[in-house]
Point group: C2
Chain length 66, copies 2
């Protein structure tokens, strides 16, 4: 699962901790997802996309193994 979280965060100029708070998870969770260590739940993915005012597909992209 690839994602554009880092880029979208840069556009909004917010930190991982900021985003974490906005979507009600921990900073470590955002860090892991942003690094592609695992893919989030659908609910969290949708909340993240919503913060960026983007669709889920604009923020996340399926890869081979997913």
């Amino acid at each position: 699962m690839k994602n554009r979280i880092r880029i979208e965060r840069a556009i909004l100029n917010i930190t991982q901790a900021d985003l974490a708070e906005r979507v009600s998870v921990t900073r470590q969770t955002i860090n892991a997802i942003e690094a592609g260590k695992y893919s989030p739940t659908l609910a969290l993915g949708m909340k993240i996309a919503r913060e960026f005012e983007k669709t889920v597909d604009e923020v996340f992209e399926l890869e081979e193994g997913d």
Copy 2:
């Protein structure tokens, strides 16, 4: 997490087992998600939407508690 899986399945005229096979999960998983018992992973949600040729947001809708 609300969803329109039942409706989209009806449009494609496919069974829960059919959809399950297409997205590589078990029939019980589709049944549970369709019934709203839990929300899928982002990867699975995206695969389901893709089968319906819809966006994630057209198939799934966030609710209060999510």
